[in-house]
């Protein structure tokens, strides 16, 4: 029940879905549709796992008065306060939407943008042409960086054309091969999973 049961469920659900898609008969069509629906319901109802984990980690820190427990306490108060506000007031609730638009959004946008400064620092200290490969990467990056902004065409119309060419041909070729390799890799992994050979994702060896 602990090991073979989940593997059996994986194999049955996977094979059933594949058969229903391949056979594509009116009799089998509802099978795939039902499995799709069940998948959506399972995903839609396991979302509280994240909130419970957050509560567990932060609650433990508060109870133990760990360093910085005050921040963990703020997190828990805001988390449950915001959930209650949303559940009681509904999604038309002005306060619920104001908090999202005017508190969360600026913080999220700014956190996302701080990386710009790290990139600037890294550009000076780490992005170096130590060998031929790194030099090629660096030249391509510089051409695209200048060619994809208005300054590129102001310097020379050739720069944006070079940037476009890099993106449209060598980059497409490289990324396409990565995509194709990943597709094959994904299919092999899926085959291993569905035949019960790959079990590590469930905590098995």
């Amino acid at each position: 029940m602990k090991r073979e049961g989940p593997v059996a469920l994986l194999m049955i659900s996977g094979f059933l879905y594949i058969i229903s898609v391949i056979v594509a008969s009116p009799a089998m069509e509802p099978v795939a549709a039902t499995l799709d629906d069940w998948y959506k319901v399972v995903v839609g109802f396991i979302n509280l796992v994240g909130v419970i984990s957050l509560t567990q980690v932060n609650g433990r820190a508060v109870l133990r008065r760990s360093e910085g427990w005050f921040y963990n306490a703020i997190l828990l108060v805001v988390l449950y306060g915001y959930i209650i506000l949303g559940l009681v007031g509904g999604l038309h609730n002005v306060a619920f939407n104001l908090i999202y638009d005017n508190i969360l959004t600026p913080i999220l946008m700014t956190i996302f943008s701080t990386l710009t400064f790290w990139i600037g620092s890294a550009a000076y200290r780490a992005f170096r042409a130590k060998n031929a490969d790194a030099a090629i990467l660096l030249v391509a990056a510089v051409v695209v960086m200048i060619g994809r902004v208005t300054l590129g065409s102001a310097i020379s119309p050739a720069i944006p054309k070079a940037a476009e060419w890099i993106l449209n041909f060598p980059t497409v070729a490289g990324m396409r091969a990565i995509e194709m390799s990943a597709a094959i890799g994904g299919i092999v992994l899926a085959l291993r999973m569905i035949t019960g050979l790959e079990r590590s994702f469930m905590g098995f060896d």
Partner: protein
């Protein structure tokens, strides 16, 4: 100690401060570099422009607030263009925050189009779980997949915009505003490729290189990329917004980073030459 060694040991916060200063200068003193509309944005514009009035455009808002700064200008310009052309717009998302993102877009655009009515001309279906599986359901039975409510949890059965919309194949165009998974590849796998539904995708710059193969293979109509794509769409559509005013600043910030790269490499080769030794790249970023 050479100047380059001194720069190497400089506290990174000075570099941060310098970048912030450049941002301030270029925003406050723009030089007005000319912006031209590229082929991708032109294709996107012409595709939307050629749709007959009343067609349904599906906005897949699969992103979150962190990406709004980069993607919203393009999304807003496209949405305004759709309303101007009297296209009907339905927004939906596989990301929990996507419904709120669509609401943000609509809140900014609808005041300019007071005649547009919710449920008639536009609708925000909000979030549904399941990712790619939900997208597959949209191709089989859209009303069942949607489940009868909109982003606010209100019933949608009375809304005329849903009349005759049985599958996602019935929409004229998909505008996918995507940043990750589920995103463009998932739409391609289950909707656009098997059912030949045209899709324009609005992407952050970081996703462009990895999405280019789908464009080259004809699985996408066009990519409207990042703030630059937004600025170009604002220019071609005539709906001026925040993106166009930022293009100078973007140019000079990119130039600053290129100068950092060049200076770093001059220092690297100078130190290497001076010490006569190899290696020595800095990890202290």
């Amino acid at each position: 100690m050479t100047i380059f060694e001194k720069l190497d040991s400089l506290d990174r916060r000075w570099v941060f401060a310098f970048q912030a200063l450049v941002f301030c200068i270029v925003i406050l003193k723009p030089v007005g570099l000319a912006l031209t509309v590229g082929d991708q944005v032109r294709t996107a514009y012409e595709t939307i422009d050629s749709l007959p009035a009343g067609s349904i455009v599906w906005f897949g808002t699969d992103y979150q607030a962190a990406n709004a700064a980069e993607l919203e200008p393009a999304a807003l310009a496209i949405l305004k263009h759709c309303f101007q052309k009297n296209l009907r717009v339905i927004g939906a998302s596989t990301w929990p925050e996507g419904g709120a993102m669509m609401a943000r877009l609509l809140n900014q655009v609808t005041p300019d189009f007071p005649d547009k009515e919710y449920g008639v001309d536009f609708l925000n279906l909000g979030y549904r779980p399941g990712g790619q599986v939900w997208l597959q359901q949209l191709t089989d039975d859209l009303p069942a997949a949607v489940g009868g409510v909109d982003h606010f949890g209100d019933p949608i059965s009375e809304y005329p915009i849903m009349d005759g919309l049985n599958k996602i194949q019935d929409v004229a165009l998909i505008v996918g505003i995507h940043v990750g998974t589920p995103g463009t590849p998932e739409y391609i796998r289950v909707i656009t490729d098997p059912h030949n539904v045209p899709m324009i995708t609005v992407l952050p710059a970081v996703s462009v290189a990895v999405t280019m193969p789908y464009l080259a293979s004809g699985q996408l109509v066009s990519i409207v990329a990042s703030l630059r794509g937004g600025a170009e769409y604002e220019l071609i559509s005539g709906f001026s917004g925040t993106a166009m005013t930022g293009m100078d600043s973007q140019s000079f910030m990119n130039l600053t980073i290129v100068i950092f790269v060049i200076l770093g490499n001059i220092g690297f080769f100078y130190n290497k030459y001076k010490k006569g030794a190899s290696g020595g790249g800095g990890a202290n970023v």
